[in-house]
């Protein structure tokens, strides 16, 4: 795209020619693809984000024989998040910014086409990199209507022809010069593609946007905070859980929880994942932390940062919203994925939304209306709040761990979880066979030390430093046990809010999991292992060390009758930023480095796609 305007015009023409037949059925196409387990056509395998595959060729009895079938180097360093998309015979993989996308032929394991990012004339790559807070990661691709969608680091959204890799259209979803970047995995819903925005560190006001798949024109855009119209709130109709029941949010529910105009730099960014319920025609997601980091500066609940949302897919109007962490003081960014499942709660069939927040609570809501059903700690190390009061829906904050209440001069020690959260962006998996969720988790606590001198673009100030360290308690009971593990992998019953089993990992589990009908759950580790565990017991049945640490999602699919498991390894992201960026000391990378310093003994940088299968007989 060296001449963006010219290419744009040509591309749009191509798009409209290609797009005419069956456009309004784009969702049906994706839906059909996701129902055939040979594909892996959305980030979450299906619209519900379950990451559950009905494939069972690889199972608990034979997984020990699994071996590497083929590998592919992405040619890029830095953190590789997200996972491969598989549509028919083709595997699509992506890299961090400045991006590449490869379409790989499964038959020959060779490159069909290759897309290489190039910015617009006025795009300064150093500038884009300088505003990406936590490495230059990207969470993956979406497919729909013959196009591959990529939300690029420079906040453009690009649609590539899935057959040729040529740019069909490209739109500016945000302005990198105000700190907006994109790292999210888009989702194709009906004739639109849903995407979000990153940049909370720069006070970016987060939004969810829907672009028309046909030509990239904007269909709707709804902010996380601000006036009702901006946010897509209907004061009488948008519901929220309050005082033991669902009630309308009322007028100005967002702006009245901010002092003055602070909502304009309100944060609530949307850099994770999105889910869709075709029956209800609603999209679901979580919004991130408030834009201003200093909590004393923004009294109030700061709505609707840190919230779960259910929006109408056609208009973007919010049907319901629920705030998990009012007035965030810990950076418990609420963007983690939501998973849509139908399970029985207290004997009743319910349409559920399940979400494991950075704040350490596992939430189960009725996704039709936002009713709060379950909110329990999925790692018992969590201590910033004693519990979520089910009547008000609010966390009961422990004063001892409140940086705000302790004041600017006090060390707030032993806050669990650390700002990384009990789980970060890495998506969970759900198995309908066991009825359990599988959570790749962090088991890390932190000290908030307010005496550290910091410096930002020419201004020194006394800020807070985060020191992070192992939680040192049993994740299942919360009892002190002197443990050193930084990660846990946990099976969870979302209908009761109970941990079923939990397995320690030396480092945070930063890789997305996938569950299969073979009664297996696969995940990756920061040292670089791909692991398979028994879905019922958590027993480790297989591990293999890939060339670099894994922060990507393990996916599974089949080709010519054979089941494959594939993952991008490539250390980086927030967890690996010290490694990815050559840090030796200090608090850079927003405090993530200290606890991970020993990782360098286990793995080094480099993007590789590794594909596994059972051996040929």
């Amino acid at each position: 795209m060296k001449k963006p305007v010219k290419s744009w015009l040509i591309a749009t023409t191509v798009a409209s020619v290609l797009a005419v037949p069956g456009l309004s059925h784009a969702n049906k196409e994706v839906e059909a693809l996701t129902k055939d387990p040979k594909n892996f056509a959305t980030w979450g395998l299906d619209y519900a984000g379950t990451r559950y595959s009905t494939l069972d060729q690889i199972n608990t009895s034979n997984v020990k024989n699994m071996q590497v079938a083929w590998t592919f180097s992405t040619g890029m360093l830095r953190g590789h998040e997200g996972g491969p998309l598989v549509v028919g015979d083709v595997v699509f993989i992506h890299t961090p910014y400045p991006h590449r996308v490869y379409a790989l032929d499964q038959g020959t394991q060779s490159v069909i086409w290759e897309y290489t990012y190039s910015g617009e004339k006025d795009t300064d790559q150093a500038q884009v990199i300088s505003v990406m807070c936590c490495d230059v990661v990207n969470r993956g691709l979406a497919y729909g209507d013959g196009k591959i969608l990529l939300a690029q680091g420079d906040a453009t959204l690009v649609a590539l022809d899935a057959k040729t890799g040529k740019v069909v259209w490209k739109v500016k979803n945000g302005e990198p010069k105000v700190g907006m970047t994109s790292t999210n995995a888009p989702l194709v819903v009906k004739d639109k593609v849903i995407t979000g925005i990153a940049g909370g560190e720069f006070g970016v006001r987060g939004f969810l946007a829907a672009y028309n798949l046909k030509d990239g024109s904007l269909a709707w855009k709804k902010y996380s905070m601000g006036p009702d119209a901006d946010v897509g709130l209907n004061p009488e109709k948008t519901m929220t859980w309050t005082d033991g029941k669902l009630a309308p949010v009322g007028k100005d529910s967002s702006t009245k929880t901010w002092k003055g105009d602070q909502w304009k730099l309100g944060g609530g960014t949307t850099w994770g994942w999105f889910a869709y319920d075709p029956q209800l025609n609603m999209v679901y997601y979580g919004s991130g932390n408030p834009g201003t980091w200093n909590p004393t500066q923004r009294p109030g609940d700061n709505k609707w940062s840190m919230s779960l949302w259910g929006r109408d897919a056609d208009t973007g109007e919010a049907k319901w919203v629920y705030q998990m962490t009012p007035h965030d003081e810990w950076d418990y960014d609420g963007i983690n994925e939501v998973v849509l499942v139908d399970q029985k709660v207290k004997g009743q069939d319910r349409k559920l939304l399940v979400h494991f927040d950075r704040n350490g609570f596992g939430y189960t809501l009725d996704r039709t209306n936002g009713e709060l059903l379950v909110a329990e700690k999925y790692d018992k190390a969590v201590n910033w709040a004693t519990h979520v009061d089910m009547k008000s829906g609010r966390p009961q904050v422990a004063d001892k761990y409140s940086t705000d209440k302790n004041g600017a001069d006090v060390n707030t020690k032993g806050v669990c979880p650390a700002a990384l959260g009990s789980k970060d962006q890495q998506p969970v998996a759900f198995s309908p066979k066991t009825g359990l969720f599988y959570i790749p988790g962090n088991h890390v606590c932190m000290d908030y030390e307010p005496f550290e001198v910091e410096y930002t673009a020419g201004q020194p100030y006394v800020g807070a430093t985060l020191s992070m360290y192992p939680a040192g308690v049993d994740a299942k009971t919360g009892e002190k046990n002197g443990s050193h593990n930084l990660g846990v992998f946990t099976a969870w019953d979302a209908t009761t809010g109970k941990i079923v089993w939990s397995k320690d990992e030396p480092f945070s589990v930063w890789a997305g999991a996938v569950a299969t009908a073979g009664d297996l759950v696969f995940y990756g580790t920061l040292e670089g292992y791909v692991k398979a565990v028994d879905a019922k017991t958590g027993e480790e049945l297989y591990k293999f060390k890939t060339p670099s640490g894994i922060i990507g999602n393990v996916n599974t699919w089949s080709y010519k009758g054979k089941q494959y498991v594939g993952v991008l390894s490539g250390l980086g992201g927030w967890a690996g930023i010290g490694m990815a960026a050559g840090l030796e000391g200090g608090s850079e990378g927003l405090g993530a480095v200290g606890a991970y310093r020993s990782l360098g003994n286990f793995t080094k940088l480099g993007g590789t796609f590794t594909v596994f299968s059972l051996p040929n007989k």
């Binding site: 300064d124 150093a126 500038q127 990199i129 300088s130 505003v131 990406m132 807070c133 302005e175 990198p176 010069k177 105000v178 700190g179 907006m180 940049g199 560190e201 720069f202 006070g203 970016v204 002092k259 003055g260 105009d261 602070q262 304009k264 730099l265 834009g291 201003t292 980091w293 200093n294 004393t296 500066q297 004041g407 600017a408 001069d409 550290e452 001198v453 910091e454 410096y455 930002t456 673009a457 020419g458 201004q459 020194p460 100030y461 006394v462 800020g463 930023i577 960026a581 050559g582 840090l583 030796e584 000391g585 200090g586 608090s587 850079e588 990378g589 927003l590």
Partner: protein
Amino acid sequence: MSVCSAQAADAFRVCADPSNLPFSDKQGDGFENQIAGLFAKALHQPLEYMWFPQRIGFIRNTLKAKQPDNDKAYLCDVVMGYPEEFDQVVTTKPYYRSTYALVYAKRAPGLAKLKSAADLDALDADSRANLKIAMFDQSAGTPWLIKHGLADNAIPYPSMSGDAEKNTAEIIKDDMAAGKVDLAVLWGPIAAYVVSHTPKGQFAMLPLRSEEGIRFDFAMSMGVRHGDDERKKQLDQLIEGKSKEIKAILKRFGIPLVNKDGSLIK
């Protein structure tokens, strides 16, 4: 030079923001540029820059980033301005000490006769309510504004600008000149920049003294990589030997300088 290649030692290589006046810019117009020039000259080395916007990850993308084709060599060796206690780098002895200052428009209601920061407390409610006050995220000025009851109508500003070409000082200077902001609490060098780059007599500054729980004065050093002890030693010597020249440069930029106890150096 224990950390760097022999070739690297041939030049004085500075990691700097290409567009961050009054500190540095690509034209060499910042006071950090001028001090870097002074040092390079003293060392008989050519002055080289590695430009990168000073944001999250500045150190990792500059001082700690290795050259792509040489795992032993880094992209640059010195950062010209970091607070003395900043732990991502090894800091030299401080070469200046400044403080935050209240920068205000003389035309704004009630501000014409401002003699000290304390006068703001005595300001009548009307003037107070009408003041357009800038409040930066993550700044020493924010708790002060809150403490003095001036945060209610404050206009929020991010401490970091996403735009690599337009930095904090430039943004606040333009907004103050345009009448969007009457009052801001700014780090000394930035305060001086606003006053000196707006029409003469329109804006004034009052350097602030640290008070209980709010620290305004900071000692500024240069930064080198952990382990680069020889370079630190070399810079320490230069800072001592060239202290007069350094002070002259800082004075030329109008930067308020303070003693260790926070008192203003007249």
